[in-house]
Subunit: 414 residues, 2 copies
């Protein structure tokens, strides 16, 4: 293996992360949903930082911020996302993008790698304010025709993705595309967002595969009526039907799930949601994830079965996919080897191999390019919440591992 | 009993009801929540109609529209409310106010009653956008100190009642008050909002008593986290805790309820309500109603018991009253007699006595003044929904019964 030295600058890395945190800062958390005014502002800042690092940078028509190395030859691509959940933490996604920026600077400063090509990307809307992983889907040419009509699903503003891109001044701007003659590998670093690294005393995780996720909108339609005057026997209460279904999900899913399966009802909505009205409509989002497609199939079949039984009540019920299913994605074995060797060099005996239970843009890239991922620990396993955090030592270590691995991939492509 | 003739003008009545319907019309329904711009506009129109009917009319500091007869002597007060639910029907409340307007005109046109005093009121916010029955509470001097700080609970605008009154130009305007030397009786007419009159072929209901209602906010606090990476065993899922509690309510309440008890979970909210986040907080509104305070006590005790059992899970749960409990209110026997005789005269064998399962301003007035209520049928029992309706024949009949009863009350006060 290569023993090339590519020292990163930890202080510079942390300073950029903290600067990015200021865009949308909300207490200790960050609110920077895709294409919100503060997100757009942060994208212009990021483009400037890419330029200062010597990259040829632009914001493309999909909202991606992409910095391309000015060096010729085969290139490694490092990416992640700088958009956040409606109440997000400061590291999720952002850390992986700033890692890319710092690795680009470190490569350009090291004699052995200064002529090598590294491209860096911040993909739009990984978190799915409009359409999850829209930016990386655009980059690989897989955005479906209706994607620009996707409505905001988190802020309830009824804004479409197309309108939001227009407001950001990006309508008509050409998208950047994956270049098969240039790009040889995709690397992404991320916080683990789970408890396993911390619990087992590890500081680096090399991802073996990314889970698949399925999201369904389940809707119940009854009859809206007065909550005082409608006798219980005459009611068609959509909330009651929804609660019965949700209760059955919580009760039955453990019997059909795999060891690492997770299932979540993260959204519930009643209409009209008023204390003195029997709800006429109710809706929830049912999500489940597993690495094994047969487990996903089993959970989907169980959901339909539970819904058919809930249908026996006086309300009508329907279930439909929320968006494209994310398919389980195994990571590239060769790239994993580069990451493992770099981890062993900088964190001997303090790294492990592990699956990713979260969706990442790497899932999209993995169908088109050898791809791999690196995790750093999440304190208490918390993420998608203001409290999300990782120690600065672990943040710096993760970036050093990524820089060393990137250099060794580039040198191995000779 | 009096056999005085006080003929109402049905066409005039229906025309005014249809004019009022235009304020906030939304398809066949009406959206005219308290102190919304269109509600304020409708109050100015109503004040003008009161004036044209010969009343001395004003909008008071509580947002009530009050028309006082210019005749001296003891007065009957007729009232209801013109605000609507977020998605309301055209008759709920509005009908009772326009009845008052038409009865005032009919009394002034009939020789036997033209010198009698009838006051008419549209009470603010019976539906509780901010603070249920605020207008009638103000009229009897019972508004609690914090009422003006009450936040909008339906539109989610975070507006306070005080701010909304200010925006309507009513800050600092004096409130009208009940005058014990003048007011001798309170009458209110309303659509039934339930199915009983229609089912039994009756056209008039004379209310025996109004149910009590209790509203509780039940909150569950867990831990917000990532829906992919947080293992099931580590979750403190507030939605799961809320669903378990709601399911127990639906299952257990029938065992403790009275024959006509009703219970409703009309509101549910998750935070942050995003598909890929384990909810950290969940909240529901639990409401139950009955005429018998001991049944209400029993249901409240059961709720606390179910919650204590739900507390065994990993989330914290709390239950607190949403607002003042409305207390079951028996109607005045003497006034009921006036209404019954008028009903028998205009709708022989087509009327009945019945409880009110809905909250009404009459509940507030009843503690201070002999009070009674009249119902007309609701088609299919529907209300608090756009489809709410009553046949024009029944609307006109109800107003005639109210006019005759009002006249007989006034003459009996001699």
């Amino acid at each position: 293996m290569s023993t090339v030295e590519v020292p990163i600058n930890g202080e510079r890395l942390i300073a950029d992360l903290k600067r990015l945190r200021e865009f949308g800062a909300c207490g200790i958390g960050v609110v920077r949903t895709s294409l919100s005014p503060i997100d757009v502002e942060s994208r212009h800042w990021l483009r400037g930082r890419f330029e200062e690092a010597g990259l040829d940078a632009r914001i493309d028509g999909a909202g991606n911020v992409i910095g391309r190395s000015r060096n010729p030859g085969k290139a490694v691509l490092i990416g992640s996302h700088t958009d956040t959940q409606p109440t997000g933490g400061w590291l999720d996604g952002a850390m992986g993008v700033i890692y890319g920026l710092e690795v680009a600077r470190a490569l350009s400063e090291a004699p052995a790698t200064k002529d090598r090509a590294l491209d860096v990307a911040s993909w739009l809307d990984e978190e799915g304010r409009f359409f999850g992983c829209f930016g990386s889907l655009s980059f690989v040419g897989e955005t479906p025709a209706h994607a620009l009509d996707a409505l905001d699903t988190t802020d309830g503003t009824n804004l479409t993705l197309g309108d939001a891109l227009h407001e950001a001044g990006l309508a008509g701007v050409a998208p950047e595309r994956l270049d098969p003659n240039r790009h040889v590998a995709y690397l992404e670093a991320h916080i683990e967002q789970g408890p396993y690294l911390e619990e087992e005393g590890n500081r680096i995780g090399v991802v073996t595969s990314i889970v698949g996720a399925r999201n369904f909108i389940v809707e119940f339609e009854g009859e809206q009526n007065h909550a005082g005057t409608t006798p219980m026997a005459r009611r068609r209460d959509a909330a009651h039907a929804m609660v019965d279904f949700a209760h059955a999900v919580y009760r039955e899913f453990p019997t059909a799930a795999g060891e690492r399966s997770v299932w979540t009802i993260g959204e519930m909505t009643l209409e009209p949601n008023a204390m003195s009205i029997v709800p006429g409509k109710a809706r929830l989002n049912l999500q489940f994830r597993d690495q094994d497609p047969t487990v996903l199939d089993r959970l989907e079949a169980l959901s339909l079965d539970l819904l058919a039984r809930a249908n026996a009540g006086p309300c009508a019920a329907t279930m439909r996919p929320r968006k494209h299913h994310s398919i389980p994605a195994p990571m590239d074995v060769n790239l994993r080897g580069h990451l493992e060797r770099a981890a062993e060099r900088h964190a001997p005996d303090q790294w492990t191999s592990m699956p990713s239970a979260a969706v990442h843009d790497a899932q999209i890239l993995a169908s088109h390019l050898p791809s791999a991922m690196l995790f750093v620990p999440s304190i208490n396993g918390v993420s998608h919440a203001f409290e999300e955090d990782t120690s600065e030592e672990d943040i710096v270590l993760g970036c050093q591992v990524l820089a060393t691995a990137t250099a060794s991939v580039l040198i191995a492509t000779d």
